[in-house]
Symmetry: C2
Subunit: 155 residues, 2 copies
């Protein structure tokens, strides 16, 4: 089983559902909503400005593909895309990553509350939120994987 | 003076500080923080999935350039990048746009509150927030313009 670095964390390929030349998409240990996934460059860099041009284009073209799928599969009608670029923006894992979250009417009392939840979720060592089981995460990644051409993702 | 469409709104070039082949960056009528700027494709499309590949790359390569400048010029140490992609994600102007916001320690009591403010700010008809004067916006756009190669931006 291959693995991917996500800051100080190791992401097993069983949690990875999307792979492009420069990026990997993976399911979330503590999602704020069903379908809340993360997309990161394979190369470990902290800041958005550290990405080279190929990585920038790959990341955001990949985000289009992933967004379409998760919006549809999780019955969303909108999407939230967010990068917390640096600690003062709420980044807790020092590896640049994009949050992609399907949204729907009434998903939160207040549309804005989701951002509070993102910050909590991105702290994988945060005790406030119960982490999901690896079995649940693997099941979700396997489900999502079918919608992408991921010849290189090992199962 | 040329103008740019931003959904139903007209943005005068005097408020535009950045221009690429596909995108324009402009100052905010109701910023949530000093240096909170917006970047949009010149072509009016509502959803992120509506952007073509050239627009996606241009938008996010431009975002790198703008982010570096506003972080430095507004004494930030981090950046928030966010797209509210659809009404259920808080999008109020139906023209795909990226929020770029310089962040610093203690800029809000809670890092997350900025998202509440973004939603308010993106409602340009929102009465809760006092709009800035056009003179103030023009002054800021002129200041920022010096940091970019904007041969095509009319002053």
């Amino acid at each position: 089983m291959s693995t991917y670095k996500f800051g100080q964390h190791i992401i097993h390929s069983s949690q990875v559902f999307f792979l492009s030349k420069q990026c990997f998409g993976f399911v979330n240990l503590k999602p704020v909503a069903a379908g809340h996934v993360l997309l990161a460059p394979i190369r470990l860099v902290q800041r958005y400005s550290d990405l080279n041009s190929d990585e920038v284009c790959d990341l955001f073209l990949s985000a289009q593909k992933i967004g379409k799928v998760i919006e549809r599969e999780y019955q969303g009608t909108s999407l939230t895309f967010a990068i917390q670029d640096g600690p003062e923006a709420g980044q807790t894992v020092p590896h640049c990553h994009l949050h992609i979250i399907p949204r729907k009417a009434g998903d939160w009392m207040n549309n804005d509350d989701i951002y509070t939840e993102i910050d909590k979720a991105s702290k994988v060592d945060n005790e406030e939120r119960t982490p999901r089981s690896f079995e649940e995460m693997e099941k979700e990644a396997k489900y999502l994987r079918q919608f992408f051409n991921n010849d290189n993702v090992k199962n």
